[in-house]
């Protein structure tokens, strides 16, 4: 098998979508075939990497053969692989859904040319965005992370503006500017870090990170930059219009994947690189911002009239849970800092993408997505409504879903650490989530007296099955949580890996 330090396969999650993006831009026909092949290949490579990591433990790949202080190194460990798995699974579902979406759009001759152009430009941008995401989850070098963040920002903004409507153009223009400011603040943080440590590699930074003033300023700058990109509450104003006005497959990508990439970096910086200089008060500050996000997002979601805006605001709210995990991660049983975050991120990615796909289906079928007039969609699109129900249930965090496991860990951690207010925040958040999910469900099921229930509108399977499968994955994530925890266990703890794996070289 492969020697563990020159692992050849680590590079493929980046190279596959990159080559696919280039080919999709080059050829006009057959772009869906290339994109699907890249998505499936990416999924299998990530599964193979997970298998390889379980056998060999966390691995590093030095690009160009140069070791860290000089070259760039990619490393895979538990959390990175789970984020890659999340991106691969959601990406495959989005690729299929986008195919169905554009086929449906092109079928009506009125604006076929415009939708054909949108489809043509969707595939290269989506593949290169996937390259940026995989590159970010794999990379272990702060300047390389800046380049991948830029890659994601530059490919996400035109994707969001693909629909061409004035509202989506304004929203994605503001999104581009905000992520530019975020990247520049991040870069200033990198400059401060390079000035005080002289090294760019994350592993070397970890043991160099003393408690100098320069390093804590670098951490503050990095955090502000990444918070801007993760749309935490005070800086969240750009997210709802950008995600709601985009095309359905694009808003899935933005909400489920792009927002998580910058959060993943934030969490890794706080709990791995700068762990020694993190003070409990700063953790609590992030926790309060998270709590603010939960309540503000939920209240706004309840007030929205349009389905897509409601789902976008629920993204803002669910991101709050990721930040509430900051103060409680220390007290999780078994010391697994990453377990809560991984479960929330995986469940939210699947459930949120299912919800946005459902919103897209409703928009395709009814021509609008005003919640008030969603009369009788249950009878015309049963599978879509079923998928919405399951996604809503797992978003709320009811038992079998992964969010339940995460909320259970959060609650037990808050009780263990006698910080009961976090428990109140979590329970309240779930209650509010229940309210805005069921508000829409009720409109789905109400059939006005006058009309008879519409017959079943047969949307193409590509449109209906991906949301259902994703919703079911998010629902039954809780049942496979022991294996997920086993993967998370394999963080840089090589020793632990060997104990479980019987002492491999």
């Amino acid at each position: 098998m492969f020697p563990s330090d020159t692992a050849v396969w680590i590079v493929f999650p980046v190279i596959l979508p990159l080559v696919a993006g280039l080919l999709c831009f080059l050829f006009k026909r057959g772009t869906f075939g290339i994109a699907l092949a890249a998505a499936i290949g990416n999924f299998f490579v990530v599964c193979f990497l997970i298998y390889q990591m379980l056998v060999y433990g966390p691995m590093r790949c030095y690009i160009g053969g140069w070791h860290p202080p000089l070259g760039i190194s990619l490393r895979i460990d538990g959390p990175a692989l789970l984020m890659l798995l999340m991106t691969a699974a959601t990406g495959l579902a989005v690729t299929l859904y986008a195919r169905g979406y554009f086929l449906f759009r092109i079928s009506d001759p009125l604006r076929a040319r415009r939708h054909k152009r949108q489809q043509y430009y969707f595939w290269p941008l989506w593949m290169l965005l996937l390259t940026g995401l995989n590159g970010l989850f794999l990379s272990a070098d702060i300047f390389n992370l800046y380049v991948t963040l830029e890659l994601i920002a530059v490919s996400a903004a035109p994707l969001a503006a693909l629909s061409g409507k004035p509202a989506s153009l304004r929203a994605s223009y503001r999104y581009l500017l905000i992520s530019l400011i975020g990247s520049l603040t991040y870069l200033l943080g990198v400059v401060f870090l390079y000035r005080s440590c002289g090294v760019l590699d994350l592993a070397l930074l970890q043991n160099l990170a003393g408690d100098g003033l320069g390093i804590s300023t670098a951490l503050v700058l990095l955090t502000v930059g990444l918070m801007l990109k993760t749309a935490l509450v005070p800086l969240h104003f750009w997210l709802p219009p950008a995600h709601a006005n985009a095309l359905a497959p694009v808003s899935v990508i933005l909400s489920a994947l792009v927002v998580k990439a910058s959060f993943y970096l934030l969490f890794r910086f706080w709990f791995e690189i700068f762990a020694p200089i993190i003070s409990p008060s700063s953790l609590n500050f992030m926790g309060t911002l998270g709590a603010l996000a939960i309540f503000w997002g939920a209240i706004q979601a309840m007030r929205q009239q349009r389905l897509k805006l409601m789902v976008a605001y629920s993204t803002v709210s669910q991101l709050g849970y990721l930040f509430v995990a900051f103060p409680l991660s220390m007290f999780v049983d078994g010391g697994q800092v990453w377990s809560i975050v991984v479960f929330i991120a995986l469940t939210h990615a699947c459930a949120k993408s299912a919800m946005f796909m459902v919103a897209g289906n409703v928009y395709l079928h009814l021509g609008h997505d005003r919640i008030k007039s969603l009369k009788g969609v249950r009878s015309s699109q049963p599978i879509t409504v079923f998928a919405y129900g399951i996604a809503g249930v797992s978003l709320m965090g009811l038992p079998p879903s992964g969010a339940f496991i995460a909320k259970w860990m959060l609650l037990s951690a808050s009780f263990a650490s006698l910080q009961y207010w976090w428990a109140v925040v979590i329970a309240g958040g779930s209650l509010l989530a229940m309210i805005y999910v069921f508000r829409v469900m009720s409109h789905f099921f109400v059939i006005p007296e006058g009309e008879s229930s519409k017959k079943n509108v047969s949307l193409s399977p590509l449109l209906e099955w991906p949301p259902l499968i994703l919703a079911l994955i998010s629902l039954f994530l809780g049942l496979i949580s022991p294996w997920v925890l086993k993967i998370v266990l394999y963080k840089d703890s090589g020793l632990l890996a060997q104990i479980f794996q019987g002492g491999l070289p």
Binding site: T6, V8, V11, I15, L18, V19, G21, L22, F25, L26, K28, C61, Y62, I63, G64, G65, W66, P69, L70, G71, I72, R113, K116, R117, Q118, Y120, Y121, P124, L125, L128, T131, G132, G135, F143, N144, V147, T148, E150, L151, V154, S155, A157, P158, A161, L162, F192, R195, S196, C197, G198, V199, L200, G212, L213, G214, T217
Partner: protein, 236 residues
Amino acid sequence: MKKKWNNHIRGRNPFQLLFLFLLFMLTVILAVIFCNIPEKSSVLEAGIVSMQNQSGVNSPVTAVLLNFRGYDTLLEVMVLLIAVIGVWSLTKATSFGNTADISPVQLGVVHLLTPVMCLVAAYLVWQGSHLAGGAFQGGAILGAAGVLLLVSEIPWTHAVPALVLRIGLVFGPLIFTGIALYCLWARGGLLDYPTGSAGWLILLIETTCALSIGLTLALLFAGGRPDENGSEGDIQ
């Protein structure tokens, strides 16, 4: 007419003044912190000098750009390509005025200058291996030549078919990725140049990337996708 150029600079409402003051304090704090970070002798620099000869290129910056941190440059060339794809997905190209009112002097200068700029670009790319220069500087000069051609409305610049443009755009990154994969196959590591052939491989990458970057920058200036009124069949 009253002197108008700076009347709105004095922050009219107090919030602007408050924000200016806060920002000024933040900058001062950052400056104070930055200045008394202890002088850290960069451990990197020692490493590079010793590895210099193995990188096949003796200008340190090009060695870092294309050999030690070649992965960064690969992703960065992709950022340039995405910018063009994004611009093409948003708008159509605009014409910079009709060919009637382009003065013959400008046409003369352009016909004289473009070959010289291409020569300078080639020299910069060649010089990149041992002095200051490289793919991006050469590409920038080529881009400037493209801008000159576009501005002076040279007729053939609008008649270039979209497929040729797309091939030109994708050519550089594709060759770069191809060479990276070749190294992966040959030496088992991405961008791990086989010993001895690092020099000319880097030169090959630099020339192809310079061409693509030049075309990319010219198309970014054109500001939109070429209008496809010719071939109705395929997608605009």
